[in-house]
């Protein structure tokens, strides 16, 4: 009873029959794979984006003595635009209709 997974639960009468259907098994594994893939990809994006930003900021601070503030701002904005485009493409990647 202490283990939530081995406890008796209220389930619809035909639960097990439905759960064993090939169709159900398939959507369950697709769902698990989807989430695994999503979170790997999402964390990968967040981490690598931070690393890129860090590098750009380091580079810009090194250039601080050589370039004018306007130039530096321009380069920073240019970098952000590129990142913005990457982010937008992530939203648009055609994954919505891949799964039912």
């Amino acid at each position: 009873v202490n283990d939530i997974r081995s406890s008796p639960k209220k389930l619809p009468r035909d639960f097990h029959a439905k759960a064993e259907l090939h169709k159900t098994q398939r959507v369950v594994s697709v769902c698990q794979m989807y989430f695994l893939d999503y979170y790997c990809d999402m964390f990968d994006y967040v981490i690598s984006r931070r690393q890129r930003t860090k590098k750009v900021l380091e580079y810009l601070s090194q250039q601080g003595d050589l370039k004018s503030p306007d130039q530096l701002n321009g380069e920073w904005t240019g970098y952000l635009e590129k990142e913005h485009e990457i982010l937008r493409k992530r939203r648009l990647k055609p994954k919505n209709k891949d799964f039912e």
Binding site: I4, L11, F15, T24, L80, R91
Partner: protein, 303 residues
């Protein structure tokens, strides 16, 4: 403007009992009266099952866990222990203030609020990782960050709900409810009052509605040059998240047993926790938007 309405009733009141819930009436306070009143049973279950002459048999069938056939001995033993303990734990999420209205029926008792803790404990133990991941990247446009997450949560909910479509039918869930306090209605035509629909119908309408907005260039621009509309967050992001939340609410309150059995609880909890952290980070949803899951949200937050 809001197409949907939720009825926030005080604990004493209730909407029509639909699935697995009992009327919050005084006559129902007594366990035995529930059991011995076939009329009540029929009222409660109308629409769920056809007319059954034997009300008690119906009770047992509905509330007792169906066990896999095959190994009869363990099954018998299990039944025995079950009857002895006379306890079936319902892990479908129920806010604690509603517990008193759920009457133990034959072979059924709702656990003390342990299940809430358990639900929270089986979340991916990724401490702080999700909290960090929802933060706006340095220099990024807030609208774009919102838009990406709207699409992500839409996809996640689509996947999650997809796994229980076999179990969430117009028969099992004739109304889009979350606990017996909340019912979500759908408005098909602007200006007309929203109507009660079945849970699968509601989710279908909701997903179509989201998809239409994603496809609208003037709301979710696809071109690099495309701009977000004025007040994008207030006008589009918040309403969408408020409605997407309701699917989580329905799953937690009415299909968590199935989710557990399919071993998808970690996925569901992670997704919901991510959703909560995101809306918390940008203060998108109010406590009242979390209605039936407010307690669960608090647990997740304090974690």
């Amino acid at each position: 403007m809001s197409f949907l309405q939720n009825f926030h009733l005080s604990p004493g009141q209730t909407i029509r009992s639909t699935r697995g819930f009992r009327w919050n009436t005084d006559s129902n306070k007594d366990v035995d009266s529930t059991r011995s009143s076939p009329k009540r049973s029929r009222d409660d279950r109308s629409g769920l099952v056809g007319t059954q002459p034997n009300a008690q048999n119906l009770d047992t069938q509905l509330w007792v866990t169906p066990t896999r056939s095959g190994n009869t001995l363990p099954e018998l033993q299990q039944r025995q222990t079950q009857r002895e303990a006379n306890v079936v734990t319902d892990f479908n999420y129920t806010p604690s203030h509603q517990k008193q209205f759920l009457q133990p029926t034959a072979g059924t008792a709702v656990s003390s609020h342990q299940d809430l803790k358990q639900i929270v404990e089986i979340t991916l133990g990724s401490e702080g990782v999700l909290n960090q991941a929802v933060k706006l990247p340095r220099g990024e446009d807030e609208n774009e960050w919102m838009a990406v997450h709207c699409v992500d949560f839409y996809n996640q909910i689509n996947m999650l709900y997809g796994t229980i479509t076999e179990f969430c039918s117009p028969q099992s869930c004739p109304r889009m409810i979350a606990t017996n306090e909340y019912e979500y209605l759908w408005s098909f035509h602007k200006g007309e009052s929203p109507v009660a629909v079945s849970a699968p119908k509601y989710v279908e309408c909701l997903m179509k509605w989201c998809q239409e907005q994603f496809d609208d260039e003037s709301i979710f621009p696809a071109k690099t040059s495309g701009q977000f509309p004025q007040k994008f967050i207030q006008r589009f992001v918040i309403p969408m998240l408020r409605r997407l939340f309701r699917v989580y609410a329905h799953i937690y309150c009415h299909h968590f047993n199935e989710v557990l059995e399919l071993n998808l609880q970690t996925v569901l909890n992670t997704s919901f926790r991510h959703f909560c952290l995101f809306s918390q980070e940008f203060e998108l949803l109010k406590p009242s938007d979390f209605g039936p899951l407010l307690e669960l949200v608090m647990e997740l937050r304090d974690r």
